[in-house]
Symmetry: C2
Subunit: 360 residues, 2 copies
């Protein structure tokens, strides 16, 4: 199947991934890592997944310090296809800049924004959802792809689906976006069957996104368009852009205005938020032996379970530890449990406080 005419993929590549320390570091964030053992980094796998849909029309927006690594990992990105942010300005500025660049190239183009560090094993189902989302975006709606919840997650935002949209296979209106719920509320959401995880995937005509943004954050929309028109002004204009997430800047107010649609994604999705989800992703079945990401021969386990990442070439030996997480790297080793994996960020904070910025 050929790529979608007039469709551009935008890949925001940011986020430190501090809950995946010491694998991820400020200088080597999650999206630059092969976290699944597939031989491709998350960024590469994301571009692999988008290439059949967007052809060579892929833009990666990333921090200036990572631009060279991005170009190195994805050599098929042509000149001008890596947008290097001088400083982090949150997701709306990044996507608005890319949208403005696309709009300047091709006034009616549709963009789809997909984070560089998500995992979607079923590429066909993903492609089908994007293709339907593009067809809905032609009606000048902001379209999101909503992930069917597999458990009452408290770590993701949700969206509530409304009426089906005529003329489309599965698309529906979006009634509202909701913030990360507590466990009781998440369970209630799942019981209704009306809620989907908000994975931050947005498909929309570039011009429509910027015009919607202009309704609520006119300076941000105008700034992005000025930078696209005159890249020499990037360093001057960029620091003035408002720091705001795309959900708050556009998705939520647009939903309230009845302008948002959702295509329910018929695929599993993971943002690998911590080592527990990484272990689950590598081996979904709980096992008596630890899951190993890397060279199995380096791990000796005696009555142990959990996740081991032998990342320094050294032997890792476990005796009588259950649901343990051990991540071994050349300059740091982390020991935690699957239950406490979400608290790994506290180590990064402690190391920063102790002045060990070389390790974070």
């Amino acid at each position: 199947m050929s790529s979608i005419r007039g469709f551009w993929a935008v890949v925001p590549a940011g986020g430190a991934g501090t809950r995946l320390w010491p694998l991820s570091r400020a200088g080597r964030p999650k999206f630059l890592l092969d976290l699944t053992g597939s031989g491709r980094t998350l960024l590469q796998a994301t571009c692999d997944r988008l290439e059949p849909l967007a052809g060579e029309r892929i833009l990666v927006v990333t921090g200036a310090r990572h631009a060279a690594a991005v170009a190195d990992q994805v050599p098929s990105l042509g000149p001008g296809r890596v947008l290097a942010e001088p400083t982090p300005r949150d997701s709306m500025a990044a996507i608005a800049w890319a949208a403005a660049v696309v709009e300047a190239h091709e006034r009616d183009a549709i963009i789809g924004s997909f984070a560089a560090d998500h995992v979607i094993p079923d590429e066909e189902a993903f492609a089908a959802a994007v293709r339907e989302a593009v067809s809905v975006a032609h009606e000048d709606r902001l379209v999101t792809i909503g992930i069917e919840p597999t458990y009452p997650a408290t770590g993701f935002g949700y969206l509530q689906m409304g009426r089906p949209l005529a003329g489309h296979a599965t698309a529906r209106a979006v009634r509202q976006f909701v913030e990360k719920p507590d466990a009781a509320r998440a369970t209630a959401y799942l019981s209704t069957g009306e809620f989907r995880w908000n994975a931050g995937m947005f498909v929309v005509r570039a011009r429509v996104l910027l015009d919607l943004l202009a309704l609520w954050h006119p300076d941000l929309a105008a700034g992005a368009r000025r930078i696209a028109a005159d890249p020499d002004q990037l360093d001057t204009l960029w620091p003035q852009l408002e720091r705001i997430a795309i959900d708050h800047a556009v998705a939520e107010p647009a939903a309230d205005a009845g302008r948002v649609a959702v295509v329910p994604g018929g695929f599993t999705w993971d943002d690998i938020g911590d080592f527990t989800s990484l272990a689950q992703l590598i081996d979904p079945e709980p096992a008596a032996q630890p899951v190993v990401l890397g060279d199995r021969d380096l791990v000796t386990a005696v009555q142990a379970s959990g996740l081991v990442v032998p990342g320094s070439g050294r032997a890792v030996a476990l005796v009588g530890v259950e649901d343990i997480v051990v991540v071994d790297t050349p300059d740091a080793v982390l020991i935690t449990t699957r239950d406490r994996a979400q608290d790994v960020k506290a180590v990064v904070d402690a190391l920063k406080a102790a002045g060990r910025t070389d390790l974070v």
Copy 2:
């Protein structure tokens, strides 16, 4: 106080210490390590403790592969004071050889045998016990120093004390030696107040030891004396010596014959059998933070307790793990718990089975 006239210290330096892997290795056993953070290895601390009692009359008996390291660590040992065993033949052969060497030097000398890998913080109390033991040994008894049990250990042998010996401050007869008991029996032993841990410390006239040995194992006694008389025959005679522990060869039958005395040691003692006892030794008070053997600055602990040995220069980070044991070395890292520390030997067995003899 000057050293004890006619007293020689014998230091058997053997034992792999596999339960302390990966700190201890076949090529770098426990006695060559500084396990207490004192700046002295266990062997060095043992010799430091004995030098005030024996002066320069210290003999170390060790495996041939460790003889150079022993001489290097204890340069005060003169020529001929390191006895290098061609192969391991258990404790009786080692001590009998040393006894025969001493006997050949000085026919009436008394030896005291003290393992190279035990920890005795109170050197004065130790010295007082040895001095009393030497005075009892002048009566041609086999004298042991019995450690007052601090808990109903199942990992040590015990001895049962009998009547006080006239003319000595604390010495008593020994009724019997008993093997490592189960927990119920160990508790019963403690309740009587008559039992002491057998720490393998024996003080005895060299000639008396060999004569006692000759009663039950004449070939072993004769072989040791022949090697002492003609060291050139070591490689020929050594492999013919019986493999047996001193407890079974001499201490138990001599106790049955009423020839054994005990001086109750008024000092704490530890053989650092595993990482749990190492943690206890370094920090006897249970703490909310992990005990660290090494550079505390390398350890970041968030809601964690246990023992950390940061031994490679790398950072070690813990999150939400209790009573954990982490031992980090340049080529291997071990993760276990205080409860399971005695099972670390299983890792060494597994590594051998996997052909990783470079790591054991």
